[in-house]
């Protein structure tokens, strides 16, 4: 994979700003006092032991947690300066702007073509020529086109796991998102596919902002420009953001002893 040739400049704009965010599942206080700026057109990785709230935090950005009864957030999360919790914000539109990839590839039980055309059709694109172009372009950007161009009518679920994950990425790309959230996108796929998806992330960040939750620290170190380390210090207490820095700094000279202990495998 290509090494990070040009580091994201310090003055890169913030795509997402989080200020003093607390998150609750009913009585359970999951996250506390999270403040972080997510840089535009960069890859940001969230790492930390299981149960440290990194997926919960990721799901705040496109308000996926709204779907969980009793879940609530306090504090500010803004996308391009716009508070996403404001009443006027349409979660469906937000989820178009902020797409999501899950651990288990989840193509719809329909053809490869229809999977990718699904979002654009919902948005009202109906001309076949236009849809054809979006489908091809999205599959090309997801580095899947060459493998599927002759079998577009075949079911998405007939593909291999790694191909399915790239199909899901193409499906997200088809609606031109600004941000892509990836929740453990490589945990369930083979190493060759992992490599393809990591390469893909490096290509996609030219145009979109990527946030990835990963248990694989080497992956975080390989693919991300920035890394945030989350930790629940005491069972039952809310998790905190311990350290957030450029990935190159965090993996060579972390400033916090807890980060150091975690990434060097001394606990967790």
């Amino acid at each position: 994979m290509a090494l990070r040739a040009t580091p994201v400049p310090d003055n890169a704009p913030n795509k997402i700003t989080v200020k003093e965010l607390d998150f609750f599942y009913g009585d359970f206080h999951a996250l506390t006092d999270i403040t972080v700026d997510i840089k535009e057109k960069a890859v940001t990785a969230f790492i930390g032991p299981s149960g440290c709230g990194k997926s919960t935090f990721l799901r705040c950005f496109n308000r996926m947690n709204d779907l969980i009864p009793g879940a609530r957030a306090e504090g500010l999360v803004s996308l391009d300066g716009q508070d996403i919790f404001e009443t006027g914000v349409d979660p469906v539109d937000l989820r178009r702007r902020i797409g999501m990839i899950f651990q288990q590839p989840n193509p719809f039980p329909m053809s490869i073509y229809d999977n990718v055309a699904f979002g654009p059709r919902l948005q009202g694109v109906s001309k076949k020529a236009e849809l054809d172009e979006i489908v091809q372009h999205s599959l090309e950007r997801a580095n899947l086109w060459k493998e599927v161009k002759d079998i577009l009518g075949r079911g998405g679920l007939t593909l291999s796991g790694g191909q399915q994950q790239r199909l899901c990425i193409a499906r997200v790309l088809a609606v031109e998102p600004e941000v892509m959230l990836m929740d453990e996108p490589c945990s369930a796929i083979d190493p060759t596919s992992v490599q393809k998806i990591e390469d893909l992330m490096a290509e996609l960040k030219d145009r979109i902002t990527i946030i990835i939750v990963t248990h694989n620290m080497q992956q975080a170190a390989r693919v991300s420009d920035f890394t945030a380390f989350f930790l629940q210090e005491v069972a039952g207490d809310p998790a905190i953001l311990v350290e957030y820095d450029r990935t190159s700094n965090l993996f060579t000279s972390p400033k916090d002893r807890r980060t150091e202990d975690y990434i060097t495998g001394r606990f967790g």
């Binding site: 620290m217 170190a221 993996f251 060579t252 000279s253 972390p254 990434i263 060097t264 495998g265």
Partner: protein
């Protein structure tokens, strides 16, 4: 698995400290052989270089192997990287000690002015102090001591310059080959200490994670 990895790091560090102590002994033997004209002692320094080369290369190979298989990060990565770097410096320092021993062999049997022998011995004593402190700073991760190496190095540079002044007072009838061998030996000692200062900076990095301003030898001694 992780325990074995940690033990490997400990062993590697102990090996580098041990090489450092051998280099200190070799430097001491080289200076003694020069000052006393002991050719046999000089021979043992020359012959011992192969062992240092072999051991420093083994440190480098072992570090690479651990990096490739264990994916170390943070202080573990800094330690491995620094140990390789330090081993390379030690290997060079051992080469310089060999050069001093060769000067001892060249000059054996001839005697020059005692002041110059005294100067070399005094310079040597200061260099041993720097080398002992370097090994201790690495062994105990003592950043303050590592930073102090530069101060300890200063009088060594002064003695090197004084050596030149003393040399200028020599008369035409003095043995020029002897004199140039002695100047070179003084220069090698000064370079050994400079390498130790570089190691000190590396020790500070491996403990703090910060690259500090690198020491640059002044032009006259570069």
């Amino acid at each position: 698995m992780r325990e074995a990895f940690r033990q490997e790091l400990k062993d590697l560090k102990a090996e580098v400290v041990s090489i450092g102590k051998v280099v200190t002994d070799r430097t001491r033997d080289a200076v003694t052989s020069l000052v006393t004209g002991d050719v046999d002692l000089a021979e043992t320094v020359v012959a011992g270089d192969e062992e240092i080369d072999r051991r420093t290369l083994a440190v480098e190979e072992h570090s690479l192997e651990v990096i490739a298989t264990q994916f170390p990060v943070a202080r573990d990565l800094r330690l491995l990287h620094s140990l390789t770097y330090i081993a390379l410096h030690l290997e060079r320092m051992a080469d310089l000690a060999v050069n001093i021993a060769r000067a001892a062999k060249r000059t054996a049997g001839r005697r020059g002015p005692q002041t110059l022998y005294d100067l070399i011995q005094a310079q040597g004593n200061l260099v041993y102090r720097v080398l002992d402190a370097t090994c201790e700073a690495l062994e105990t991760r003592d950043v303050e001591l590592a930073r102090k190496l530069q101060d300890l190095d200063e009088p060594i540079d002064h003695l090197y310059k004084q050596f030149f002044r003393e040399l200028a007072r020599l008369h035409d009838e003095e043995d020029i080959e002897w004199a140039s061998s002695m100047v070179l030996a003084s220069r090698y000692l000064e370079r050994i200490a400079d390498n130790a200062v570089d190691i000190g900076e590396r020790i500070a990095y491996l403990v703090t994670g910060e690259f500090e301003a690198l020491h640059s030898p002044d032009e006259e001694t570069a």
